[in-house]
């Protein structure tokens, strides 16, 4: 490959794809960030360049408090979700106990509702007019603490994010060959000590990655913080950036951009720190690792594990249940009544406008683009080693550290005039969906490609197929199972996307998550429940179809 001429490189269709990818990510991921960065450097009263805005930011108690809140909430949510997710992952991958399969299904189900719906459900239960709060006050005569504020945000975030930890750590555990744990056992360690001294340390890179994902995701989560922090009352950076942006005209220009830059800087710093830490002593996972046979728990241990797991997973599923049930309850003011009707849905449909339709169309189009482009990018960055491929690999990951709200604000300021004028259109929503989730699919595809023997394609080329035909005929079928998984998650995230689209939507491009959020934040509690239930139902329905199709595909390929 070293001696490949420039002409040959240019003739390769993959070079064109690589170039297009770099151009796309530069325009839609990097440019908006640079624009925000530029804005943050413009002074308040003059057009001079400097760090005045950052001085204001770090000099003001208000901003410092938001920064502090963001870090504490994200930090405690991360610790909590690790505390839930890591033991669950170890339990599920190394032990058998009663009800394991059903509990596994419940873990998947707790991913169905977007975090802000979870937050909303906690309010239905523990908010000021919440069912449990009222029950405590009226029946038991005790005043329960309400869910608003940092503790509530952390809890709600932890319960909606622990599945990330669960799946990432489970994946890491799967790549540890059983021989390590067997060696430890043969040397005389008890199973619990084997986990502590060998399993966990070997899974540590996975735990760290999971922690990072949760931290970034909580840091960026605009909806949960806004609902449980009641907007301005408990400001975090993500909500602050949004409200500063909305009030930009009256307020201090550039502060929304400054807040955004601080958010991105924190995320970037964490990613780099983790990279540096994990680069030093890399423990290479083995994709073909043999799994240890799960130890079957018996007696008390089995029942304790099953019960504790059930309680934890049940709490995580509570929002789902609460939202679905309360959507059928009559609502009076901010309080649900103990009588069932379809009134919420009647009102919800009367107000829904194009929201449902928009959501379906935007998410479907975005998903199609994400899958095709992500598969191609994933392939290109794995199989090609040049500077272009490395650049694309890096650029495509940029949105990973950019909170949705920040990206939305960036889009609003860059794409509202030539050369690209798409503000207010459906296109901008679809593009932001694509850009935000492309990293996930690219990485998923890349890891699949990495595991596929290069010889297969070389055989195809050798037999005379053109490069793209080889990709289509050989790689695409082989990559499909791996991509299906990435695609499923991308769909959940795209369909429920809120934090960027809330900045970019207009009356005509409102989506279902936006409608649900608006009603939940300060609207009709009954209608909010109905919208939320619709979101969950559609997500669950499509997921069921995907799993069904995936299952069918597997049975077909077995024959």
């Amino acid at each position: 490959m070293t001696g490949r001429s420039l002409a040959a490189t240019l003739r390769d269709p993959w070079t064109l794809i690589g170039l297009a990818g770099v151009a796309f990510t530069l325009a839609f991921a990097v440019a908006p960030l640079l624009a925000l960065f530029a804005q943050s450097l413009v002074g308040q009263d003059c057009d001079c360049i400097g760090f005045e805005n950052f001085e204001i930011f770090f000099g003001s108690r208000y901003f410092r408090r938001a920064l502090f809140n963001s870090l504490t909430v994200a930090g405690s949510a991360t610790l909590l979700s690790l505390a839930i997710g890591v033991p669950l992952a170890i339990l599920f991958s190394r032990f058998s106990f009663p009800g394991k399969t059903a509990l596994m299904v419940m873990v998947v189900m707790s991913m169905l509702s977007p975090p802000f719906i979870g937050a909303y459900a906690w309010i239905i239960l523990f908010g000021r007019g919440g069912m449990v709060t009222l029950f405590g006050r009226d029946v038991l005569g005790i005043e329960l603490p309400t869910i608003y504020g940092p503790a509530g945000i952390s809890l709600a975030s932890a319960f909606s994010h622990y599945p990330i930890v669960f799946f990432v750590v489970s994946g890491a555990l799967q790549r540890i060959d059983r021989s390590f744990e067997e060696a430890a056992a043969s040397l005389g360690r008890k199973p619990t000590m084997v986990v502590a001294t060998v399993t966990l340390p070997l899974a540590l890179p996975g735990v760290a990655t999971a922690g990072l994902l949760v931290f970034l995701s909580t840091l960026a989560d605009f909806g949960t913080a806004n609902i449980l922090g009641e907007g301005e009352r408990y400001p975090v950076l993500a909500t602050l950036a949004y409200s500063l942006y909305l009030n930009e005209i009256g307020g201090e220009p550039g502060m929304a951009a400054t807040t955004s830059v601080v958010l991105v800087a924190i995320a970037l710093l964490l990613v780099l720190l983790l990279r540096a830490a994990s680069g030093r002593r890399s423990v290479v996972g083995d994709a073909a690792a043999q799994q240890p046979k799960p130890v079957t728990l018996t007696g008390n241990a089995a029942w304790i594990c099953a019960t504790v797991t059930f309680l934890v997973v049940a709490i995580a599923n509570l929002p789902l249940l609460v939202v679905c049930i309360s959507s059928f309850l009559d609502a009076r003011g901010a309080v649900f009544q103990p009588s069932f009707s379809l009134e919420n849905y009647q009102k919800a449909f009367a107000l829904i406008g194009d929201a449902l339709w928009n959501s379906v169309i935007y998410a479907t189009v975005a998903l199609a683009v994400i899958v095709v482009v992500g598969a191609a990018f994933g392939y290109y960055v794995t199989r090609y080693t040049g500077a272009l491929s490395r650049a694309l690999d890096l650029l495509v990951m940029v949105p990973f550290v950019v909170p949705g709200t920040v990206l939305g604000i960036g889009y609003a300021s860059v794409f509202n005039g030539p050369p690209i004028y798409i503000t207010g259109t459906a296109t901008i929503i679809v593009v932001v969906y694509v850009v935000r989730r492309l990293p996930y699919l690219t990485r998923a595809a890349a890891s699949v490609v990495y595991q596929i023997d290069r010889g297969l394609e070389e055989a195809s080329l050798n037999l005379g197929a053109r490069p793209l035909a080889g990709f289509r005929k050989i790689m695409v079928p082989l990559m499909r199972p791996g991509i299906m998984a990435g695609m499923t998650i991308a769909w959940l995230e795209v369909f429920n996307e809120l934090s960027a689209s809330i900045v970019l939507y207009t009356g005509a491009t409102r989506t279902l998550p936006i409608a649900a959020f608006q009603q939940a934040f300060n609207g009709d509690i009954g209608i909010a429940a109905a919208y939320a239930a619709m979101l969950v139902a559609i997500t669950a329905g499509t997921l069921a179809i995907v799993i069904r199709l995936g299952g069918a595909e597997q049975t077909l390929s077995m024959k």
């Binding site: 060959d177 067997e182 430890a184 056992a185 040397l187 005389g188 199973p191 060998v198 540590l204």
Partner: protein, 355 residues
């Protein structure tokens, strides 16, 4: 001699597949026993049952007369050396070797002393502070070995410990392992599918095929006196010649009578094996027998030359000869001679040894 470790009638099934079909064997203290057999015959399965990682469906494992079936692996006190080393990548060489001692609550001065001496034994004294990613395959396997012997286990289990090393290192390491095992007198069960390795290192070899133990004996007897056609074929390779039992004779399809009798009824189809190195171009004794052959291919291998020939009944035979005798021309007719004492007779149907 009292048996230190005994496997009694072990049966293991995976679903419909019976992987071990009633395997029994035992070994005295200090013995080096090798489990030898082709891929998939159940060697690893048996070793993992002994180690306690798998539970057998039937049968027992005894150590010092005591049944240890219910004991979990960590209470069996067996050291294990793994094919892919399984050296903990997040611990230094020292910590790897100290792992089992720490699990036993050995005091730290003692640990330092024992680890140092174990590392010295495997010639890694200078590597204590290294991490596994900085070690070569052979060094990693030495760490695995030191880690397993430092706990002075009742029994040392090794599952193809050398199969990831290159050919030269493999020979070097197998000698080291053998010397170390003798010095320490550790009872050892060693798994391999490499017959040469098995012959070189073992006190005794147990040959497994599809879950059945075909023969357990000292290397020399395994090679020279195979109890089963499979053993003769798998260890060392052998020419297989068709024969029939007649009244008072075992006659090769290719001509000569090799034996007066075999322990079977007349008319039974037999297979006679002859090692390639037992054939000559001239007789070396009065009772030697002759096979007329036609040379198909002659290959020069340096110390030897190998002839591939066809016999009068159409079967093929290979012979290793001294190159000094000169290379016969392909297509030419020659006579191959062998001593009937070297012929081994098996039933063609099930490979039982009958003479």
């Amino acid at each position: 001699m009292t048996d230190h470790v005994a496997i009694e009638g072990v049966i293991k099934r995976f679903g419909p597949l019976t992987v071990l079909d009633g395997v029994s064997l035992s070994l005295p203290k200090g013995e080096f026993l090798t489990l030898l057999g082709p891929s998939g015959c159940g060697k690893t399965t048996l070793l993992r049952i002994i180690a306690g990682f798998l539970q057998q469906d039937r049968g027992h494992v005894r150590v010092g007369g005591r049944v240890i079936d219910p004991e979990p692996p960590h209470r069996r006190d067996f050291g294990m050396v793994f094919q892919h080393y399984a050296v903990f990548p997040h611990m230094s060489v020292f910590d790897n070797v100290a792992y089992g001692l720490r699990a036993r609550g050995v005091e730290s001065g003692e640990i330092a002393r024992k680890v140092a001496s174990a590392l010295a034994r495997v010639r890694l004294a200078d590597y204590a502070q290294r991490f596994p990613p900085q070690l070569s395959g052979g060094q990693k396997q030495r760490v695995g070995l030191a880690r397993a012997i430092v706990i002075e286990p009742e029994l040392l289990l090794m599952d193809e410990p050398l199969s990831n090393l290159d050919a030269k290192l493999r020979i070097e390491m197998r000698q080291e392992i053998r010397l170390l095992q003798r010095e320490l007198g550790i009872t050892t069960i060693y798994v391999t599918h490499d017959q040469e390795e098995a012959l070189a290192v073992s006190d005794r070899i147990a040959v497994l095929e599809r879950g059945h133990l075909l023969q357990i004996d000292v290397p020399r007897r395994i090679y020279e006196d195979p109890a089963h056609l499979f053993v003769a074929d798998f260890i060392g390779g052998a020419n297989k010649l068709a024969a029939t039992a007649e009244d008072g004779a075992v006659r090769l399809a290719a001509g000569p009578v090799v034996r007066a009798r075999a322990a079977v009824a007349a008319g039974t189809a037999l297979t006679v094996t002859l090692r390639i190195e037992d054939l000559r171009l001239a007789p070396e004794g009065p009772d030697w027998l002759r096979l007329s052959a036609r040379v198909v291919l002659a290959s020069y291998l340096g110390a030897r030359q190998r002839l591939a020939c066809t016999l009068s009944d159409g079967s093929t035979i290979e012979a290793d000869l001294d190159p000094a005798a000169g290379l016969p021309d392909p297509g030419g007719a020659i006579d191959l001679w062998f001593s009937p004492v070297k012929a081994r007779i098996f039933t063609a149907a099930d490979g039982r040894r009958v003479g």
